[in-house]
Structures are given as structure tokens and as C-alpha cells.
């Protein structure tokens, strides 16, 4: 067993893990972050992408024991409690979500992209998005989501109130 300290979504975890435990298993099964999906186990589909020290990483190809001291962000940690990140809102509004299995990774890749390039062009978006596979074929909608998110962030709108977003787009609490 190897002792590692990880900060996941701003919370510190001190863990004893087998040397060959994959980061995806640590995040998904040990810590319960279900947004991290396993689609192929060999870094092809991109469904397991998380941010490690701000960089997009296939968590199925990373060993937890090698990541002592790392800062990790999964989709669950993109916004503080009660808030939704502008990128998430942009993905809702672009209406491209179908089965939704790949969507968490597209959002994380978008975060990494927009952290580096505030106003990416089409070619750059396609290159970054080619790291995640979507079989429903939502790609063009996700390109649009990136542009929408870039616009929100430029306007300084980083977080949205979760309840407001929910009521606008989903289930409503009915007034008397």
C-alpha cells in the first residue's frame, strides 16, 4: 500500500492505495465521484477525463500512487455548492446533451481549454474536443457550448444559482 494525499474538489483525502490502483477507481469507487466514467480503459474514449493540477488527464491511465500532492477536479467540483458553472449552463443551453455519458468529460475538457484560450476558434475547439468520443453525435452542439461558455466567462459570469437554473430548465416548484 502507498500513502498518498490528494486534494479532490478542494477537499483533502489521505489514502492508502495499492501501488497499481488507477486514478479512475480511486475517484469513482473509493471516493464516489460518479461523473468519472469508464468507457474503454485505455485512454481512447476520454470519458474518464479529470483535471490534475489543471491539466486534462485520462484517469484510467493514471496511477493514484504517483499523484501524491496533486490537486484534482472532477465535474462535481466545478462549482461551489448551490452553484452551477457557466460551462455547465452553456452545455444545457446548447441543448446537445443526449445520452450524457460523455458530457462530463466534454465539460472538463472545455474548462481546461478555456483556462488557456479565452476565445478559441473552431479549429482549436475541434482539436480539444477530439479527445472525447460521443457516439450520439452531439459534437456540433458541444462546439457551440464552448463558444457560449467563453462568452459568459468574458462577461464575468462564472457561477449561476443552481435553483434558478433548475427551475428555468427543469422541474418547477409550483406557486399557490
Amino acid at each position: 500500500m502507498v500513502k498518498v494525499t490528494l486534494t479532490v474538489n478542494n477537499v483533502k483525502y489521505e489514502l492508502d492505495v495499492p501501488p497499481l490502483e488507477r486514478l479512475i477507481d480511486t475517484l469513482r469507487y473509493r471516493l464516489g465521484f460518479t461523473s468519472v466514467k469508464e468507457g474503454c480503459g485505455r485512454g481512447e474514449c476520454g470519458s474518464c477525463i479529470v483535471l490534475v493540477n489543471g491539466n486534462p488527464v485520462h484517469s484510467c491511465l493514471a496511477l493514484t500512487s504517483r499523484l501524491d500532492g496533486a490537486e484534482i477536479t472532477t465535474l462535481e467540483g466545478l462549482a461551489p455548492a448551490g452553484k452551477m458553472h457557466a460551462i455547465q449552463v452553456a452545455y444545457i443551453e446548447a441543448r446537445g446533451v443526449q445520452c450524457g455519458f460523455c458530457t462530463p468529460s466534454f465539460i472538463m475538457v472545455t474548462k481546461a481549454l478555456l483556462d488557456r484560450v479565452s476565445d478559441p476558434d473552431d479549429k482549436t475547439i475541434r482539436e480539444w474536443h477530439s479527445s472525447v468520443l460521443c457516439r450520439c453525435g452531439s459534437y456540433p452542439y458541444y462546439f457551440e457550448a464552448v463558444k457560449r461558455a467563453a462568452k459568459y466567462l468574458k462577461e464575468g459570469k462564472v457561477y449561476f444559482d443552481e435553483r434558478e437554473v433548475r427551475e428555468k430548465y427543469h422541474l418547477k416548484v409550483l406557486a399557490r
Binding site: 474514449c45 468520443l133 457516439r135 453525435g137
Partner: protein, 800 residues
């Protein structure tokens, strides 16, 4: 004879709104955010494997699969596996308490191989351990005594393509006495005479590849034993009611002791039909025996080996035409490479024969479709279900014919396409909205067909451009395959919020949103009042399988019937409360309810619901709908196979690099007649997503086997699907709305149709780019991989 009330309701609503433009509805046909989007963009545990975190103390199930594609199983020794750390049990065929079979249409597929294995993927034993790793490792220790048999990978080793007779061989299904699964035919008119009189005859051999669904979520199932001896199963399945039946058979339990819940599916495309039954039966067997929750999670390799594929086909087509382009006859033979088990093959083959002459007026036809077993992964359901496999040859033939006749491909299609009042090749009268001509004309206009045809003909250099068209029709729902019914329930809660239940599943396709839109439109409430319950055999009504592009039309009809009845009751009550002249004058625009001549005097939706509660007006309704009967004559291939058809025209604009053989789609135009747009967002996502999936089928996807029957490309690193970089730069999407009176507001399905004609449109565009008569004949199979295209460029002598 009077019609059932549900038929009358659907017809009444159709005719009432027939002439109302879609944009004038409040919720129908609008772009909306789907009901489950927020759960999905926040990473909630909604998929089956996610739910494992809610299950305490599960055991893990691993399937030990055969290493031989065709062999007798003489014995299984798992004593070493049982000694492996953490292993709790090993189960084989003898441990199945009920019927050891999970065949979907016919009982030809054991859950656990008993005396024989028929493809590399058959499960021989289940190893159960405290962890998945231990179960897998112990699986290596299971010793199976095999007697290898000759492996058949090519259906032409089993069937003579000339006579279509079975050749003598070592039977794969010796228990059936034949390896011909099924034969279908069409015999209409006088084909011989038509060919004799024809001015032009074109013929060619065609091949279409296997296709893997490659849904990004690999299969998973979790079973929880119930105190009454029953079992609850969460599984990746498109059809929970079919899964329940399969599990009940395997366990020997009555249906009501087996509860199947289908959580969100990370894609299905038809692939999650059989395998859902199989994995559910495996975990249910283990959970009921060990009295502990049991989980099974496939790796990608297990997923690709363990679920069905789109059937590969080999076909021979002959078309005869008059000098003016009128089609005189079609003669065809189509062989489906069935793989090891029937799965849904009989239905796939039937859909193939029905669509085998395309959406054209054909008076003389002789078609044979034969499904032949081989030792490969079984072919089964995949979006399109037999239709893409015949539309490819038909639409390639039309372009061969156009060239022979010196006609534009569009003109040839317009000359022969089915129109309102025509009869299909089966003799079915098309007595309602046939949008085929309109979809062609619209696709031509949006794609800039004539300008591009002219422009591209003059391009020189190593990079060529080409534009191609393909059209198709696609029968909606399951037709003469079986009983075609649907149901839904709507329960208005006391606070005015609504619970909606249907046994149809969401695998990402979003058809449920269409049902929400119908419910919202009819009741007059916003969609965000409505909560959808997941498909659950113990809670949601059986709505038939979620297949065959039937959810919007068939599920929509059931939803419409329930909503209509509720609305009638609420209108009557509101008219009394508000003093409206007639119940028909009540306007519900929740939260406001008023008489149409006095909007200022209103009550709220919630008040109306409260009054209904106190006055005993029922706030729940069940909607049922049964499709009009379908007819099929096995001897002639005539009748009315489907109650209605979706029509479509696809134009692909491609770039072909003559020096590398690489084909890229630059622009795609997809136009579909779907009767009425119910869920615009979903429809557009299909028009685009279906294109992208079809582009993979056209350009890059196929399965490769070694000589022993082992699949060589069993992960996404070797089975390539389109990525963001492959997506065309531009899409033109348009919907024609030629409504159908037996469907909700006239709507027809689009799930499967959206992939049917993509491959031939791309192939036709490639031929157009190559500008070579020889290439026209050589482009007779796909995928159009760079090496294949490069080879045919050389063979045809196309020079930059």
C-alpha cells in the same frame, strides 16, 4: 364497426390541428432543454454502474468466455477457480434453475453454453467473487475441455450464392438441422418479361460491413435479491419488459417476481436489447442463489465481444429501366451474415426484404433475403435494422442507372419515387402524407445540388470534390413483426405537478421529451411541471419495446390519449367553476385557467387541481394505443407491412484526396418527412447525430476477424468511430411535415431513419468526385477506407 376510443381520439386531434402550423403550437416542435439535462451535466449517478455506490456488500460476476469459435464442450472443471481468494461460487449451465436460453426471437441461444460453443463470446461459466479483479483472475483457472469443430466465418461457405441452397457442412446449429435461419421473398409481377423489354439493365454485387454500436457506456447490471424470493434488477436494457421475460424464464419465476428497472442508458442504438437480457439473467441467477446483491460491469472488450452487431450483408442487384428512366424491375439476392445466434435476425431480415426495392414505384420484383448462421458475433438490432444494408445497394444502383441513361441522379429519383396515392412494391396503398418528392426537392435546394454538380465536374488537381444523393423510406414501429401496442400513465399531484410514467426507456435518444411535449401541449402546462419516472416493470406500464422508431408515434399516441381524457375532465370542471359557455371554451395556460372570451377572470392551475380533488374528478389517467394491424403474405411479399413510413433524402458533399484515398465529408444536407415535428431539438440531434454515425459506417467502421474467429479490433483504439475532427463543417437540416392520421399530431419516427441513407449518399458523392464510369461500378462496398478508395482510384485509372 365502431373504432376503439383511442383511435378516435388520435384521429380527432390529428384532423383538428392538421392545418395548424407547427410554429403556432406552444410546446410542440419547439427547441427545449431535455428533462434530464441537468442530472447529466452535473454528473449525477444515473447510469447502472454508477448505482453500485448505493449498493452494500455486492458480489461481482465475471463471464468466462470460450476460446474457440466453434467447439463441443465436453466438460468444465472449475475446482481451481473455486480455491482462488475471494471466489464464492462458479456457475455453469447445470445451475440454471429455469430454461437455459436467452434467444430473443427463437430459443437458439443458451445463457451458459451447455454442449456447444458457437462464437468467441459464448459464456461457459460465471465466476462470482468478492471483487471484480478476483473474479476475473479466477476465471483464468476455469478449465474447459473442448473438441474444436470447423469454424465458418464466411456465409458463402454455407450457402450457394447462385441457387441459395444450403451446402453440406458441419452444422453450427445441429439441433435445428440447418444453418439457414430464415428466408424471405418478394414475388411481384413478371420480372423476366420486364428485363427482356428493358432498354437498360444494370447489375452489381454489393457488400455492407458489420457495425458495432460503440455506445460509450459499456453494459452493467446489478441484481438485488428480494425477501419474497424474487429479484430486482437494474440493467442497461432498452426493453425492460423483454428483459423481465428473459430473466423469469431463466430463473423459472413468474413475471411478477422479477422487477427490472432501466436507469439512464449511455447510448443503445439497438445494441442494448439482447445483451440487457443476458447480463440481467446472469446477475439475477447469482443474486438469487447467493442471497447477496450481484454486479456485473463489462469492460469495453467484453462489451464489443458480448453484444450483437449490425449484420454484414452480401447482395446482388439487377435493375431494369425504360429509356425514359422508368424503373421496370428489380431482382435481388441478399445474404445476411447472421453470426452465431438468431437474436433479432428474423425481424432484421424481414425489414430488409420489405425495404429491398427502395422508395420507388416498382411493379415487377423478385427478391430473396436469406439469413445464414456463421461462427461470429451475432448480428442483431442496430438503428436502421436491415434497411441500411439494402438501401446502400439500391441507391448505388440508381446512380449506375442514371449514368447509363445519361440522366441526373435527382431526375431519375424524382421520376420513380413514391407519391401520395401510389402503391408500394407490396401493393400497399399510400393513402396519406407521402413527403418523398418534397424531401428530394428540399435537399436539392438546400445543398445547391445543380450548381455544385456543374462546378465539381470542372475541378482539377489531386483533391477532388463530389456531391451525391441517396433517398429512402423506413417503416415505422414493428409492423407485422408482432403485437404493436403502447401505454402511458399521467398522474396530476395535489400541488399541480405531474408524474408521467411509461415503460419506454431513454437511451439518450430523447424520445421521452417528445412525450412530455405532447402532454404539456394537450394539458396546457409547461414541460417543467412534469416529472418522468424511469422505466420500471413494477411501476411503469408496459409500452412495448423501445425500438423501431416507435416511441414518438406509438408512445406519443398513448400519452395523447391519457392527456386528452384528463383535459376533457378538467375542461368540464373549469367550465363549471368559471361559468364558461362550453367546456371547449376553457383555456389552460398554466398557471392561468380561464374562459376564452374572458381572460381577466381566471383561476390558477393549482386551484383547478384542488377543486378536482375535492369534487372527486379523477386526476390520473391511463393511455393505451394499439397500432392498426399490419399484413404480410409470406409467399408473395405483399400486404401492408408497416402502417406508415418516414421518408428522407440525404445529400453529401465530399472531398477525395486522389493521392491518399482519404475521403472527408465537407457538408451534409439531411431532409426528413417526419409527419410533424414534436421535439425539434431531438429531431435535429438525430438528423445530425445519425449522420455522423452513418458517416462512421460509410468511411471507417468494420469488424476484422482472424481465421480462428477471434475479433481483432475489440476496443475503441482499433475500432474507430468519428471524432470531433471528422464532423462536417456544415449541416443543412430540414423537416417536411406530411402528417399521418394514426399518429400524435401526425408525427412519424426518426430514430432509425436518420442513419439509413447516409452511407450510399457518401459513396455516391465519392463516385461523383472520381468522375469515372469504372469507379462507379467499383464503389460497391463500404467502409470507404483510404486503402480501399486508393486501390479503386488506381484500378479505375483516375488521374489528378
Amino acid at each position: 364497426m365502431s373504432k376503439p376510443d383511442y383511435v378516435e381520439i388520435v384521429e380527432e386531434v390529428f384532423y383538428k390541428y392538421k392545418d395548424k402550423k407547427t410554429e403556432e403550437f406552444k410546446y410542440l416542435g419547439k427547441n427545449v432543454v431535455r428533462w434530464d439535462a441537468i442530472a447529466k451535466i452535473t454528473g449525477q449517478p444515473i447510469f447502472t454502474a454508477d448505482l453500485l455506490k448505493l449498493v452494500k456488500n455486492p458480489v461481482f460476476v465475471y463471464s468466462v468466455r470460450t476460446k474457440y469459435a466453434h467447439a463441443k464442450v465436453k466438460g468444465v472443471d472449475y475446482s481451481d477457480a473455486l480455491k482462488y481468494p475471494g471466489v464464492l461460487a462458479v456457475f455453469t449451465a447445470k445451475d440454471v434453475p429455469g430454461i437455459n436460453d436467452v434467444g430473443y426471437v427463437i430459443p437458439d441461444q443458451p445463457l451458459l453454453a451447455d454442449r456447444k460453443v458457437r462464437y468467441i463470446g459464448d459464456t461457459v461459466a460465471l465466476v462470482v467473487a468478492e471483487s471484480l479483479e478476483n473474479a476475473r483472475e479466477a476465471g483464468e483457472l476455469v478449465q474447459v475441455d473442448y473438441e474444436p469443430l470447423k469454424v465458418y466465418l464466411d456465409p458463402l461457405e454455407i450457402i450457394d450464392p447462385e441457387t441459395l441452397e444450403e451446402k453440406p457442412h458441419e452444422l453450427i446449429h445441429d439441433e435445428r438441422g440447418t444453418d439457414i435461419l430464415t428466408r424471405y421473398k418478394i414475388r411481384v409481377g413478371d420480372v423476366e418479361k420486364a428485363f427482356k423489354e428493358a432498354a437498360v439493365v444494370v447489375e452489381n454485387k454489393y457488400e455492407t460491413p458489420f457495425q458495432e454500436h460503440a455506445y460509450i457506456e459499456p453494459e452493467a447490471a446489478i441484481a438485488i435479491p428480494e425477501p419474497d424470493g424474487g429479484v430486482t434488477i437494474y440493467a442497461k436494457t432498452q426493453c425492460p419488459f423483454d428483459t423481465r421475460k428473459a430473466v423469469a424464464n431463466v430463473l423459472g419465476l413468474p413475471f411478477n417476481m422479477v422487477r427490472v428497472i432501466a436507469p439512464a442508458l449511455g447510448g443503445g442504438f439497438g445494441g442494448a436489447e439482447d445483451v440487457g437480457n443476458e447480463i440481467a439473467a446472469k446477475v439475477a441467477l447469482v443474486a438469487t442463489r447467493l442471497k447477496r446483491p450481484a454486479a456485473l460491469i463489462h469492460t469495453r472488450e467484453e462489451s464489443i465481444i458480448g453484444h450483437t452487431k449490425r449484420h454484414r450483408t452480401i447482395s446482388w442487384y439487377r435493375h431494369a429501366a425504360a429509356r425514359d428512366g422508368t424503373l421496370l424491375a428489380v431482382e435481388a439476392k441478399v445474404i445476411l451474415d447472421k453470426g452465431a445466434y438468431a437474436s433479432l435476425g428474423p425481424f432484421v431480415a424481414w425489414r430488409a426484404v420489405v425495404h429491398s426495392t427502395g422508395p420507388y414505384k416498382v411493379r415487377n420484383a423478385k427478391v430473396d433475403v436469406v439469413a445464414v448462421y456463421t461462427n461470429k458475433i451475432p448480428g442483431g438490432a442496430f438503428r436502421g435494422f436491415g434497411n441500411p444494408q439494402v438501401t446502400f445497394p439500391v441507391e448505388r444502383q440508381m446512380d449506375l442507372l442514371a449514368e447509363e441513361l445519361g440522366m441526373d441522379p435527382v431526375e431519375l429519383r424524382l421520376k420513380n419515387v413514391l407519391r401520395n396515392g401510389d402503391r408500394t412494391v407490396h401493393g400497399q396503398l399510400l393513402d396519406h402524407g407521402v413527403g418523398a418528392e418534397e424531401v428530394i426537392k428540399k435537399a436539392v435546394e438546400l445543398s445547391g445540388w445543380y450548381e455544385k454538380r456543374r462546378l465539381y465536374a470542372s475541378l482539377t488537381g489531386p483533391v477532388r470534390r463530389g456531391i451525391g444523393i441517396a433517398i429512402f423510406y423506413h417503416g415505422n414501429s414493428i409492423g407485422a413483426e408482432g403485437a404493436d401496442y403502447s401505454s402511458a400513465s399521467v398522474i396530476i399531484q395535489r400541488d399541480g405537478s405531474i408524474i408521467f410514467r411509461t415503460g419506454l426507456t431513454d437511451m439518450g435518444q430523447g424520445a421521452i421529451q417528445g412525450l412530455i411535449n405532447i402532454l404539456a401541449e394537450v394539458l396546457g402546462v409547461p414541460p417543467n411541471y412534469i416529472k418522468v419516472e424511469a422505466a420500471d416493470t413494477a411501476a411503469t406500464p408496459d409500452a412495448g419495446p423501445t425500438v423501431a422508431s416507435r416511441s414518438t408515434a406509438m408512445g406519443g399516441n398513448a400519452t395523447l390519449v391519457a392527456a386528452y381524457k384528463l383535459r376533457q375532465r378538467l375542461n368540464k370542471l373549469a367550465a363549471e367553476l368559471l361559468g364558461c359557455g362550453s367546456p371547449d371554451d376553457v383555456v389552460i395556460e398554466a398557471p392561468k385557467v380561464y374562459c376564452k372570451d374572458d381572460p381577466s377572470h381566471a383561476i390558477t392551475w393549482r386551484e383547478l387541481v384542488e377543486q378536482a380533488f375535492w369534487k372527486g374528478v379523477p386526476l390520473q389517467e391511463f393511455g393505451f394505443y394499439r397500432a392498426p394491424p399490419a399484413e404480410w403474405d409470406e409467399e408473395t411479399g405483399t400486404g401492408a407491412p408497416y402502417f406508415t413510413y418516414t421518408y428522407g433524402a440525404i445529400v453529401s458533399d465530399v472531398e477525395v484526396d486522389l493521392e491518399t484515398g482519404v475521403v472527408r465529408v465537407k457538408e451534409a444536407t439531411t431532409v426528413y418527412d417526419i409527419g410533424r415535428v414534436i421535439n425539434r431539438t431531438g429531431a435535429e440531434l438525430h438528423a445530425i447525430g445519425g449522420y455522423i454515425q452513418g458517416m462512421g459506417y460509410a468511411l471507417m467502421e468494420d469488424l476484422y476477424y482472424d481465421s480462428e474467429g477471434r475479433l481483432m479490433n475489440n476496443n475503441l483504439s482499433t475500432y474507430h468511430i468519428p471524432t470531433a475532427r471528422d464532423v462536417p463543417e456544415k449541416f443543412n437540416v430540414y423537416f417536411v411535415e406530411a402528417g399521418y392520421y394514426h399518429a400524435p399530431f401526425g408525427a412519424k419516427g426518426l430514430g432509425e431513419p436518420s442513419i439509413v441513407a447516409i452511407a450510399p449518399s457518401i459513396a455516391n458523392a465519392v463516385v461523383n468526385a472520381l468522375r469515372s464510369k469504372q469507379a462507379n461500378k467499383l464503389v460497391n462496398k463500404h467502409p470507404l477506407t483510404p486503402d480501399y478508395v486508393y486501390g479503386l482510384i488506381k484500378k479505375a485509372g483516375v488521374k489528378p
